[in-house]
């Protein structure tokens, strides 16, 4: 989790920021799934025997969150591509200096 956040904050490259975001989100998903685990639990399938089973709800929630995460990454990458086409670089510092020049 912290690793992903660290990448987002420190890296100068927009592509790396998107990857950092994906790592950050995945870490949160794993946190959610780990909440669901019941000790000695099996998959929540209805059987004749009575078993302890893991809570399926967090998995379902995370399924939704993964879809959201994929959409976010896809949009982020599309934006990076467009930034590259417009500026011919995806380094934050270079873009900032380009913008400073164009403002003058």
């Amino acid at each position: 989790m912290v690793g992903g956040l660290f990448i987002i904050i420190t890296s100068q490259n927009y592509l790396k920021k998107v990857v950092g975001l994906a790592i950050f989100q995945t870490a949160v998903f794993v946190f959610f799934v780990s909440l669901a685990k019941v000790l000695d639990g099996t998959a929540p399938i209805l059987t004749k025997m009575e078993n302890a089973y893991s809570n399926p709800l967090p998995h379902v929630l995370i399924l939704t969150a993964i879809v959201v995460g994929v959409a976010t990454s896809a949009l982020g990458l599309a934006l990076v591509l467009q930034i590259y086409r417009n500026y011919e670089t995806i380094e934050e510092k270079e873009i900032q200096s380009l913008e400073l020049k164009s403002d003058k």
């Binding site: 949160v28 946190f31 959610f32 467009q82 930034i83 417009n86 873009i95 913008e99």
Partner: protein, 498 residues
């Protein structure tokens, strides 16, 4: 048939725009996507009015999706708190869609019209979901749909200025971090209570009445995540570039509705769920939200004075205005919540009107609107300029406009809480608002050169004037807004006691 349609009104206000959005995506036509969106939003307004009627009879509607009972299934809740906001949302979405056509035509490629309106409806539908949902995880989904739709809409501004891409990218990263923080909070809350339904959450949380560290951590994560999304002061940095480089129609929609709906949910979470822990709540309100609101008001206004670009100026003034709203909500009593809601309504109208007028100027001169480029606009385009003037005066809070009502109630609420320092600060910042608005007026009307009158487009100034007239009407006859806000505050406060 029509009754069947009305029975599911609570779900349809969200589902209808989302469905139509999918249909119009690939329409090659220039005009049909707009007409279909307009018809959809007229239906949306009919549904909202129907909900208002139902609420005035029963007082509470809980819509269960797939007939799953509330603690298990997802439900929508409509009550006194959100019905007023729902109505405002519906009306403003319709007006801004009407306004958006000519603006979109001149700012984006006309072949993209179908896609733009698809995103537009997606944003409207999901923001409406934020207003109605009663499930904390469902909120996250709507939050992300609306964020992704608005990011794509902001990026459409790249045809005008490539900085729109950077603004959209920054919004994406910061917004996604905010949303993920919110999900971490939901995870903690779910782990402790095993529920996601807001009403059930209150009941389950009551068993930990002495408080648990995990719950406080979860609550803090959720609040921080929402603060990022609502652009409350130190985490507002995504907002000014996003609003100022977006296509003008998009800035109008986002500035008027997007942050408002999230602020509404923020306050509902605070006063409906977290009020279970009064000590935590007052700690958060007094030592986090209250000082941050004061800083937002002061710094937002100061930065706005030094802006040359008018859309950026308006965006920074939005930061200050969000500060007024959160300041009112941080007071933790009936008068504070009421004045917060009043300002949500009024500020949506004012900022919407201002962005509409400035957006029209931007397409008239085919360039970004800066202070110097506005020279003589008061003579060239008197109809729109006069509307801009009235909206601006209302932003400052002059009598006879609805901005005055907001300020009046805010001062009253601060006075009853004996916060004299905040009163002074709000007064000073209103005075500073005069400074930045006066610069605009000076450029528009007080110039030596005479300009000749130019033609204005009725399709564009009509919606602007609808907003402007409503600003004056609600400034003189303000009881509808005050009644709705009172109702919201009543429900929020009594909901806890029941």
């Amino acid at each position: 048939m029509f009754n069947l349609f009305l029975d599911d009104a609570a779900a349809l206000v969200v589902v209808l725009p989302l469905l139509i959005s999918a249909i119009i995506t690939f329409m090659p036509s220039k005009i049909w996507p707009w007409i279909i969106s307009l018809v959809t939003l007229v239906l949306h307004l009919v549904l909202s009015l129907h909900l208002l009627k139902e609420i005035s009879i029963s007082g509470l509607i809980i819509y269960e999706f797939g007939n799953w009972e509330p603690p298990w299934g997802i439900s929508f809740k409509i009550d006194g708190v959100n019905i007023g906001l729902q109505l405002l949302f519906s009306i403003f979405a319709l007006i801004s869609t009407f306004y958006s056509r000519k603006i979109f035509l001149s700012e984006i490629d006309s072949r993209d019209s179908g896609k733009a309106y698809s995103l537009w409806l997606l944003a409207i539908g999901s923001l409406n979901g934020i207003i109605l949902t009663n499930d904390i995880f469902n909120l996250f989904v709507f939050l992300e749909i609306s964020a992704l739709a608005s990011i794509s809409l902001i990026a459409l501004g790249a045809g005008q200025n490539r900085k729109a891409l950077l603004a959209a990218f920054n919004y994406l990263i910061i917004g996604a971090i905010g949303a993920t923080f919110y999900v971490i909070g939901v995870g903690f809350a779910y782990a402790m209570t095993g529920t996601l339904n807001m009403n059930d959450l209150v009941i389950q949380l009551a068993q930990y009445s002495d408080g648990q560290l995990a719950i406080f951590a979860g609550m803090s994560f959720m609040l921080i995540g929402l603060m990022v999304k609502a652009a409350i002061f130190p985490v507002h940095i995504w907002l000014p570039p996003a609003y100022s480089y977006a296509p003008s129609a998009v800035s109008t929609l986002l500035a008027a509705l997007a942050t408002k709906t999230i602020l509404y949910f923020f306050v509902r979470l605070l006063y409906e769920v977290f009020i279970i822990y009064p000590s935590y709540l007052s700690l958060f309100l007094d030592f986090v939200l209250y000082p941050l609101s004061l800083l937002a008001i002061f710094i937002g206004t100061l930065i706005a004075i030094y802006q040359d670009d008018i859309k950026k100026l308006l965006a920074f003034s939005s930061i200050a205005q969000i500060g007024y709203i959160t300041l009112a909500f941080s007071l933790e009593d009936h008068s504070g919540i009421t004045s917060g809601f009043i300002h949500i309504f009024n500020h949506a109208l004012i900022k919407g009107g201002l962005f509409m007028a400035v957006g029209y100027f931007a397409i008239l001169q085919k360039d970004r609107v800066t202070l110097t480029s506005l020279k003589g606009f008061g003579y060239k385009y008197p109809i729109t300029s006069f509307a801009l003037l009235i909206c601006g005066l209302s932003l400052i809070g002059l009598p006879l406009t609805n901005g005055f009502i907001s300020k009046l109630y805010l001062f009253q609420a601060l006075y009853t809480n004996q916060m004299y320092f905040s009163i002074a600060l709000v007064a000073v910042s209103s005075a500073l608002a005069v400074a930045y608005f006066w610069k605009i007026v000076e450029q528009m009307w007080f110039s030596e050169i005479k300009f000749k009158l130019e033609k204005e487009d009725a399709y564009i100034y009509l919606p602007i004037w609808i907003i402007t007239v409503s600003i004056i009407v609600f400034g003189i006859y303000s009881s509808p807004i005050i009644e709705f806000s009172n109702l919201s505050a009543d429900y929020l406060i009594s909901g806890y006691q029941n």
